[in-house]
């Protein structure tokens, strides 16, 4: 262990820079037409420095790095490392899976550029140490992903891309002002995230900053009612893109909450508000998800639900000044990174397989799906165990158990829909199947490896009481799913994206008239007499203002 710690101090800083740089280097090579093919083949290697850094930090000790010339600084602590490791694995697997997408398609070049930029941002958010670096990589993981979502160029993906971009940009704007408040609240002028968050509880802008942070990151993790973009985006994106977006990219919001909520300071009001928002989202996601037919859309609603649980855990941590909530939530999220990505790849694999190959694939998919519900011996069970301490045994614990039941029901619904889904006619390349299997395997194994790092006890995980605690909510969920199934799916059909439909309608109803009003105003003001009168008015107003302020 000490050897790893020493190695962490020795190589860590360099690896942090390399983690961010590697995808960008590959990107630079991709831009050269001659070397493009070779570079694309190398893209699965791009997340390796990040993975190495994560292993060093989990096994060894946290470390920092910086690029003074670019005024960027990095830090890898335990929550970040756990998420980074999971995200790096997903990016490796998905890059292999996506290699068929690199070439021979009209948008291959655009897809590759977006992919690598998103990768750099996705890995970068977990290691960014100061506000500006974080904002930069956060933008990187968010904005270029537009082209991953709108890749197909049909009406559906254009709409999904547009909605995604709108949410993303609004979220960025909200976060920008929150970050500015954080920076303004730090009297020393430091931009280090730790420093500004430590100063937050005493800052005059505390409440505004917290509200904006929760709003901004809440949009990223699709807390209801800001959830509408997620089902559209994941359904529209190609399989590997959906995998990395739902697995890795969305965790930028989670790490944001972990990093920026002052978990050490007890803020019950804000904490409980966030927790309730999270729980509402957790059930809302399931409820709407159960009405959906498309497996990818169902997975998206499951993400909404799971992100709600994570938000609830962090909210309770904030309310109770629970420092461990950070790494516990990170662990829960890391499990979701791996499982959700593997599930999306399952959708792709299942669609490509026919006949004899399909059944084993569906069994793996089922195991993955139930992992999210907390199936014993899976990473999901460990994840539930990890956050148990923060949730406690009271109301929150009961609600969490109910959410596990609901998740189980939703995942069974997903499984049935997946099993019934059509073949898309594309042959399944061995590359795809292998990368999927590898990721599925990793999603089972890696949580076990990381569990001790967050203070978990593996023996505890295998205790009978724990197993029973995990199983009974699942049974309830299974019963629920079976009941719904038996009734012939009586739920109303709600359009994917649910509330976003109303939001889009409101936008369509208000934006063009507003724009037309601006045009009329502009036309009036640009008439010569109007401009001349404006000039006189401004001159007089400025003079009068100065005169009056004597």
């Amino acid at each position: 262990m000490s050897a790893l710690a020493a190695a962490a101090q020795e190589f860590g800083p360099g690896l942090l820079v390399a983690a961010l740089a590697a995808p960008l280097v590959v990107l630079a090579v991709v831009l050269s037409p001659k070397l493009r093919f070779a570079a694309l083949a190398m893209s699965p290697l791009a997340p390796l420095p990040a993975l190495a850094a994560a292993i060093l930090a989990i096994g060894g000790a946290p470390f920092e790095g910086e690029l003074p010339g670019l005024r960027m600084s990095f830090r890898l602590d335990l929550p970040g490392a756990i998420l980074l490791a999971a995200a790096a694995l997903v990016w490796i697997a998905a890059s292999v899976f996506a290699r068929a997408d690199w070439t021979g398609r009209p948008n291959a070049e655009r897809f590759a550029v977006s992919w690598l930029l998103t990768m750099a941002g996705s890995l970068g958010v977990f290691v960014a140490a100061d506000l500006l670096t974080f904002y930069l990589v956060y933008a990187l993981v968010s904005v270029p992903a537009y082209y991953l979502i709108a890749d197909d160029e049909d009406a559906g993906s254009s709409r999904a891309g547009g909605v995604y971009l709108a949410f993303t940009l609004i979220g960025e704007a909200v976060l920008l002002i929150a970050f500015v408040m954080l920076a303004a609240g730090e009297p020393g002028g430091s931009l280090d995230i730790r420093a500004v968050v430590d100063a937050l509880p005493a800052s005059p802008w505390r409440d505004a900053a917290l509200a904006l942070l929760i709003l901004g990151f809440g949009m990223k993790i699709a807390l209801a009612p800001l959830n509408g973009w997620m089902p559209l985006a994941y359904a529209a994106a190609p399989i590997p893109a959906a995998a990395v977006l739902s697995g890795a990219a969305v965790k930028a919001g989670v790490i944001g909450l972990i990093r920026f909520l002052p978990l050490g300071a007890a803020l019950p009001g804000w904490g409980e508000a966030l927790a309730w928002a999270g729980f509402v989202s957790a059930f809302y996601g399931v409820a709407i998800g159960l009405t959906q037919r498309d497996p990818k859309t169902i997975l998206a609603y499951s993400s909404i639900s799971q992100m709600g649980v994570i938000a609830a855990v962090l909210g309770l941590g904030l309310a109770g000044a629970d420092q461990n909530a950070a790494s516990d939530a990170a662990f829960y999220a890391a499990n979701h990174v791996l499982v959700k990505a593997a599930l999306f790849l399952s959708v792709g694999v299942a669609a490509a397989l026919t006949g004899r190959g399909r059944s084993p694939a569906l069994i793996v998919a089922a195991a993955l799906a139930l992992s999210l519900g907390g199936l014993p011996l899976t990473g999901g069970a460990l994840a539930k165990l990890a956050v148990k301490g923060t949730l406690g045994d009271g109301v929150a614990g009961a609600v969490a158990a109910a959410s596990a039941a609901a998740t189980t029901a939703l995942m069974l619904h997903f499984f049935i829909r997946l099993a019934r889904s059509d073949n898309d006619g594309k042959a399944a390349s061995p590359q795809r199947i292998l990368s999927w299997l590898a990721l599925a395997f990793a999603s089972m194994l890696v949580p076990w490896l990381m569990f001790p790092a967050v203070g978990g006890d593996l023996a505890d995980a295998l205790a009978t009481a724990t197993l029973w605690d995990a199983i009974w909510p699942m049974l309830i969920g299974a019963a629920l799913a079976a009941g719904l199934w038996a009734l012939g799916e009586p739920l109303p059909r709600i359009p994917a994206g649910d509330i976003v439909v109303a939001q889009e309608a409101a936008f369509r109803a208000s934006a063009p008239p507003l724009g037309a009003a601006f045009e009329r105003l502009d036309w009036r003001l640009r008439q010569w007499p109007a401009a001349g009168l404006s000039l006189l008015t401004i001159a007089l107003a400025l003079a009068a203002a100065g005169f009056a302020s004597r």
Partner: protein, 315 residues
């Protein structure tokens, strides 16, 4: 109230009335004629302000050359005189505009009245440093020595004005001469007038320039008179406007600022600073610069009035 004061008040009302005429006159042509009269009256105001240099400039350039320019334009714009209905202002807008303009004028008048009767001045400093320049007219000293940088740049503005006006030529006329082709037979009355007046005018112009060193007058005023003479000669069709591509014309147009600029740079070498004059040589140097400036003004103003080239160049 003394007679002089009464005359001042009368002049003020007259100026105001003619100005109002130029704004409210029914047609652009009438308004333009009003403007020329207004310019002449304004020269009288300047004389009453003991600013004879300005009065000369106002009469020559502000009223004279500008008047020719505007009257020519008004004549060519016949047909554009009617205002399309959609551009006419509503009564309310007019009222609002009038109110705002009144407010600005009132504020300005109030501030002007509040200025102290014996205001801050640079007259003593000008007189103190006047001997260095060897000049007798402090206004000329300000223009050519104390604030020579302004004056040089303003000459560059004139060059840019010519470039801008010429840039409006159609491509096929580039390098050609402005104005209509020369008539076969000059207008006899005008020709006679020009033949008589031009020599006298040139004499007067050179005189005004020359005395400018010590008395009211100078490069601007003299140059403007010379310019007027050339314009009259061109109007009488005794001579044609030169081709825009003519090297001598270009040289004449830039000679003033170029010599000024060169002298300014030379100052850095021989007199220890940009636009500094070597002691003792100041007056001859200033007269040298002014000579070229006068010449350039005399050429530039007619070219600005003549407008862009409108004839195909002769090769």
């Amino acid at each position: 109230m003394s007679v002089l004061q009464a005359l001042d008040v009368g002049l003020a009302f007259l100026v105001f009335a003619v100005a109002a005429w130029t704004v409210f006159a029914p047609g652009p042509f009438a308004a333009t004629v009003g403007y020329v009269v207004y310019g002449l009256l304004l020269s009288l105001v300047w004389i009453r302000l003991f600013a004879v240099d300005v009065a000369l400039t106002e009469a020559a350039i502000g009223s004279g050359v500008t008047g020719v320019l505007l009257i020519g334009a008004a004549a060519r714009l016949r047909g554009a005189e009617t205002t399309p209905a959609e551009e006419a202002l509503t009564g309310l807008t007019r009222l609002f505009a009038a109110g705002l303009c009144l407010l600005v004028a009132a504020a300005l008048a109030a501030v002007v009245l509040l200025l102290p009767d014996q205001g801050p001045t640079l007259a003593p400093q000008s007189m103190e440093r006047l001997p260095e320049t060897g000049l007798g007219n402090p206004v000329t000293a300000v223009l050519i020595a104390f604030r020579s940088f302004d004056t040089m740049l303003e000459k560059v503005v004139l060059v840019l004005g010519v470039v801008g006006v010429w840039s409006l030529a159609a491509d096929r006329y580039w390098g050609g001469a402005p104005g209509e082709a020369r008539a076969e037979r000059p207008e006899p009355t005008l020709a006679f007038f020009a033949q008589v007046l031009a020599p006298i005018g040139i004499l007067v112009g050179v005189h005004v320039f020359w005395v400018g060193a010590d008395e009211p007058g100078g490069a601007f005023q003299g140059g403007a008179i010379l310019a007027a003479m050339w314009m009259i000669v061109m109007m009488a069709r005794l001579t044609e406007a030169p081709q825009a591509s003519a090297f001598w014309l270009r040289l004449a147009l830039i000679a003033g600022p170029a010599v000024f600029l060169a002298a300014g740079v030379a100052g850095a070498v021989v007199a220890g600073g940009f636009f500094a004059y070597p002691p003792g040589l100041a007056k001859p140097l200033i007269l040298f610069i002014e000579t070229f400036m006068t010449f350039t003004i005399a050429v530039t103003l007619p070219m600005l009035v003549a407008g862009p080239p409108r004839r195909e160049p002769r090769r």
